[in-house]
């Protein structure tokens, strides 16, 4: 039995770089030098990730389910 992780992905074509996600989860989202958000592949609180998705003015954040790399079952 293993639990999928959630990973955030930012659509750079949609992102306007408002940075609401970076304010909420600074360890996950950073605004790069071009002014777009980039999501780091790190574990984060599911509720906060979902809030980031809902807060994004551009609906540019998507959550992707990632199966564990090494099955633990």
């Amino acid at each position: 039995m293993s639990i999928d992780r959630l990973r955030a992905a930012v659509d750079r074509d949609e992102c306007f770089g408002f940075g609401f996600c970076a304010d909420l989860l600074p360890d996950i989202f950073v605004i790069d030098e071009t002014g777009h958000a980039v999501a780091r592949d790190m574990d984060a609180d599911k509720a906060l990730l979902e809030q980031a998705v809902g807060d994004c003015p551009r609906s540019a954040i998507e959550l992707i389910r990632v199966p564990p790399a090494v099955p633990t079952g």
Partner: protein, 367 residues
């Protein structure tokens, strides 16, 4: 481009009524409408009494919206605004020091107005214009003796700064607009003024209201002032709550492109409707006790900056102005209280009384 523009004018004429027939309220409904520019179009011309052209990118829909927005993006991008912090801190420190030395001020005109006037002059790369922008007072449009609004002062300013940008291009926001290209052509005069009008009128009066509102609210809240002074890291959350409660831009117009209805009412295709940002920010199903200012409110998913593609382009600048202003004030004086009766125009938002406009907020330094 020409085809799209022709379509735009046609649909403008197609606006059935020039007054909004309904206001969309409720946090979820307002947010959903703001994210849906197909059903709730920005293809309109507002403020017809004071301008004859559209504010850009505010009053066009995607995809044109994105092209205009990209022109302004270098001015308002998060890293560009973050780089302004030392300069804005210096402005705030000077304003706070004058308050500390004099002991009493009228916060709207002597604190909020100079903070915002200088901040936007610096942000737009024309610091030499700070006194002029402050001299406009709290409203970008002038009010004539007969009560009509007049936009000619703003037009004269835009005409002058764009002429200077053409003659001596610099690194300022107006030079950026003046040399911008859209699909291989330079911008028309109306497009230039549309962008310039937006950045001047959009973030001036609103942030003046936010900062005046912060002074007004904190005048009666000594405990909150002490807490924020001791923990400046909590000032940003306080600013967000003041943004929510005051909602300096309470609503914005959209054109319904089809017949729609909701708990808020109904509208026909072609009707003007309002997206009620203030109403959304006072939705009791999302914000506990929305009529009370809770400076530690968390989470605080307010829509004071709107939502969707038209989310305020100046969000980082507005937040920076308010934060460094409060940091400077709280560091410079032990506290302040009202020094006489404030003059405030009130509105009722979802059953709560909320200041809609601060005309005068006299304050004095208090221990």
């Amino acid at each position: 481009m020409s085809g799209r523009r022709a379509g735009r004018e046609a649909s403008l004429i197609g606006v059935r009524r020039l007054m909004a027939v309904a206001e969309i309220t409720g946090h979820a409904a307002v947010k959903a409408a703001a994210k849906d520019p197909v059903t709730f179009s920005s293809d309109l011309l507002g403020d017809r009494d004071v301008r004859t052209y559209r504010q850009l990118p505010l009053e066009v829909d995607p995809p044109e919206h994105g092209a205009y927005r990209a022109i302004l993006a270098p001015v308002f991008a998060r890293p560009a605004i973050a780089a302004l912090e030392p300069a804005l801190r210096a402005v705030a420190a000077g304003i706070a020091a004058r308050f500390a030395a004099r002991g009493h001020v009228e916060a709207v005109h002597e604190l909020a107005l100079p903070m915002v006037g200088a901040s936007i002059a610096i942000a737009f790369g024309r610091p030499q214009d700070a006194d002029e922008l402050v001299g406009w007072g709290t409203e970008s449009w002038e009010t004539m003796p007969d009560g009509r609004r007049d936009g000619s002062r703003l037009e004269r300013y835009l005409g002058r700064v764009f002429a200077e940008a053409d003659e001596h291009p610099g690194t300022d926001a107006f030079s950026l607009v003046a040399r911008a290209e859209l699909e291989g052509r330079r911008l028309s005069r109306e497009e230039r003024h549309g962008l310039g009008n937006l950045i001047l009128a959009g973030g001036r009066d609103t942030v003046i209201g936010l900062i005046a509102g912060a002074m007004w609210h904190l005048a009666a809240e000594q405990g909150e002032r002490v807490r924020l002074a001791a923990h400046p890291g909590r000032i940003p959350a306080a600013v967000e709550e003041l943004l929510r409660f005051l909602s300096p831009l309470p609503a914005i117009e959209r054109v319904a492109t089809e017949d729609i209805s909701g708990p808020w009412g109904r509208a026909h295709g072609g009707d003007l409707v309002l997206l009620g940002f203030a109403a959304a920010n006072h939705d009791a199903t999302v914000f506990t006790d929305p009529g009370t200012v809770n400076l530690e409110r968390s989470p605080n998913p307010h829509v004071a900056f709107g939502n969707g593609p038209h989310t305020c382009i100046g969000v980082h600048l507005a937040r920076l102005e308010a934060r460094v202003f409060l940091e400077a004030l709280l560091a410079a004086v032990p506290g302040w209280r009202l020094d006489g009766e404030p003059e405030i125009a009130w509105a009722t938002v979802e059953g709560s009384r909320v200041p809609a406009r601060f005309d005068r907020v006299p304050v004095e330094v208090a221990p």
